[in-house]
């Protein structure tokens, strides 16, 4: 049997097992938790272990497995901004998330859009955040689709067309997401979490040692590569002067968005109690440490390229994001490639499923029901959720096929959009009345428009600073001006 058959057999076998578990859980779940509320937050009864595994698989995905090693291979020291902002996010989460949970419980919020609707007393604000949350999730879903394609392409040893592989894998998970509810996603995530952690730690520790004998040797190769890298390579073990503004803006801005992703908010709202939420914050942060071995894999990839053991130019887009799988393929037998590929793909699928699921739920509840068709029967609500989920999934797939990006930068674009909800949400919780309804809405819209303008039209970061920062400046300015003006006219 060829290497590709073994590796792909394991990957698709695992996909089949998880899909089977999902279908089973959905079937059982429909009987036990048939209420619409259960579709949204699984009845607020998830315990620590389930929530820990679910959140881990939900948060850590292709960006950990493929994106981080890719950025490390392509740009070197800059990658630490990603790991650091993630870890700092847990500190901020520890402070903010319990408040989010208790408010949600007191006020009966099921989604982030419910929170906005209640805080600002406006269904339009709720609907805006529901749609904006879904739209800014598209790059995140696109990232997962691209990642799945890279995994299958590498595991097939070049035998499988990545486009077909992406379509098959994502169609499966899209169907599952539409048919199932949060309960089944949680079950699947439990399976993914264990495999994902084992894979990243094993490859991260073993790969540099097998390839170079020690970290010292690895860094010696990298030092030499840095001095004589090929044209177009921007690798640096240190921060270059132009990186500092980006680095600082990432570690200050991105953590503010970390807990505002609609799917994460839903996981938080689904927690059993406030103690579970806090303990979970600490427990899930352990996953963040697993980014260190992932980064080492990226360094191993570029060092293997420097020593001609990898032919693919991993310093270039999009090849950098193949780093993790390439290292595994070069250094390990096909069955390890299969297991690691399964872990990475499972993580990507579970994340994409969670985001898609929540996007549909938000649209159905906060746009269709609250704004457009208040008397819609439950059947119609579920249909609207599924149609919207399918639209988001197809949009993500089209972008993955026709406008692929570097995985980490796709993630950061999503963060830049989502972070625009931070001031309105947090100030709305802690200091109600700071922004008026129109001020909040205008501010968020302005911030998101600035991020989109920088990403799509400008196509470079002003002063090298993260687009999320510029969006927040515009957001706060507009929200404050509109709110103050409205308050003055009212008095």
């Amino acid at each position: 049997m060829g290497g590709e058959a073994i590796a792909l057999g394991i990957i698709f076998g695992w996909l089949g097992v998880t899909a089977g578990v999902g279908v089973l859980a959905t079937y059982l779940g429909f009987r036990r938790v048939a209420a619409v509320d259960a579709w949204f937050v699984a009845g607020r009864r998830l315990g620590l272990l389930v929530l820990w595994l679910s959140l881990g698989a939900n948060i850590y995905s292709a960006y950990t497995f493929l994106g981080l090693p890719g950025l490390a291979a392509r740009e070197g020291g800059k990658v630490w901004a990603i790991t650091l902002y993630g870890m700092i996010s847990y500190l901020i989460g520890y402070i903010v998330v319990p408040r989010m949970w208790s408010k949600a419980k007191d006020r009966g919020w099921l989604t982030i859009a419910d929170a906005f609707e209640d805080i600002y007393g406006s269904r339009a604000v709720g609907a805006f955040t529901a749609i904006a949350g879904a739209l800014w999730s598209i790059p995140y879903i696109q990232l997962q689709i691209q990642g799945i394609g890279y995994i299958i392409e590498t595991a097939s040893y070049g035998a499988m067309n990545p486009v077909i592989a992406k379509v098959i894998a994502f169609t499966l998970i899209a169907i599952f997401t539409v048919v199932g509810g949060l309960m089944s996603v949680v079950f699947i995530n439990m399976l993914q979490g264990a495999l994902m952690l084992a894979a990243v730690w094993f490859i991260g520790i073993a790969a540099p040692l097998i390839a170079f004998g020690s970290l010292t040797n690895l860094f010696n190769v990298l030092q030499s590569y840095q001095l004589s890298q090929p044209a177009g390579s921007n690798f640096s073990l240190f921060l270059k002067p132009g990186d500092v503004g980006w680095f600082l803006s990432i570690i200050f801005i991105a953590p503010l968005a970390f807990w505002l992703w609609p799917n994460r908010v839903q996981n938080v709202f689904g927690a059993k109690d406030i103690k579970t939420t806090k303990r979970n914050m600490v427990a899930v942060s352990v996953y963040q440490i697993a980014q260190i071995p992932a980064i080492l894999v990226g360094l191993t990839a570029i060092a293997l390229f420097a020593t001609d053991s990898i032919a693919m130019p991993v310093f270039k887009k999009p090849f950098c994001d193949y780093s993790f799988m390439l290292v595994t393929r070069v250094l390990f037998p096909p069955w390890v490639v299969g297991l690691v590929g399964a872990g990475a793909m499972a993580a990507s699928i579970s994340t994409a499923a969670a985001i898609l699921h929540v996007s549909g739920a938000l649209f159905s509840r906060n746009v269709w029901q609250r704004l457009l068709r208040p008397s819609a029967p439950r059947r119609e609500l579920l249909l609207s959720a599924r149609v919207f989920t399918a639209v988001i999934a197809v949009a993500s797939l089209v972008l993955a096929l026709y406008a692929p990006g570097i995985l980490i930068y796709l993630l950061l674009v999503g963060y830049a959009g989502i972070v625009q909800m931070f001031p309105q949400y947090i100030l709305g919780m802690y200091r109600p009345g700071t922004f008026t309804r129109n001020g909040a809405l205008a501010g968020m819209a302005t911030g998101m428009a600035i991020v989109a303008y920088i990403k799509v039209i400008l196509r470079h970061l002003p002063l090298g600073i993260y687009e999320g920062f510029w969006g927040l400046i515009g957001n706060l300015a507009v929200a404050s001006i509109v709110s103050l003006t409205e308050k003055r006219f009212k008095t």
Binding site: W80, L84, I88, L91, I92, F219, L239, V244, M281
Partner: protein, 73 residues
Amino acid sequence: MLMVPGERRLSRVALYSAVLALAYLPLAGLLLVNSLRVAIGGVPALWVYAIGWTLFVFTLLLVLHVVDVRLGG
């Protein structure tokens, strides 16, 4: 010593603020370490610093949790 609710809230706010400030404190040395071209155990100083910073924030989170629980969180 007994703590009234207002004091407890104040001490928690102070705790959160202090922990957040500490988490960002290593920023002060980042540029200096970045300019050093020395290796520690074969690993560039910046990389050792970044790994240490990551683990430091993780430790802060653990400490925060322990203290928070003692404050009745």
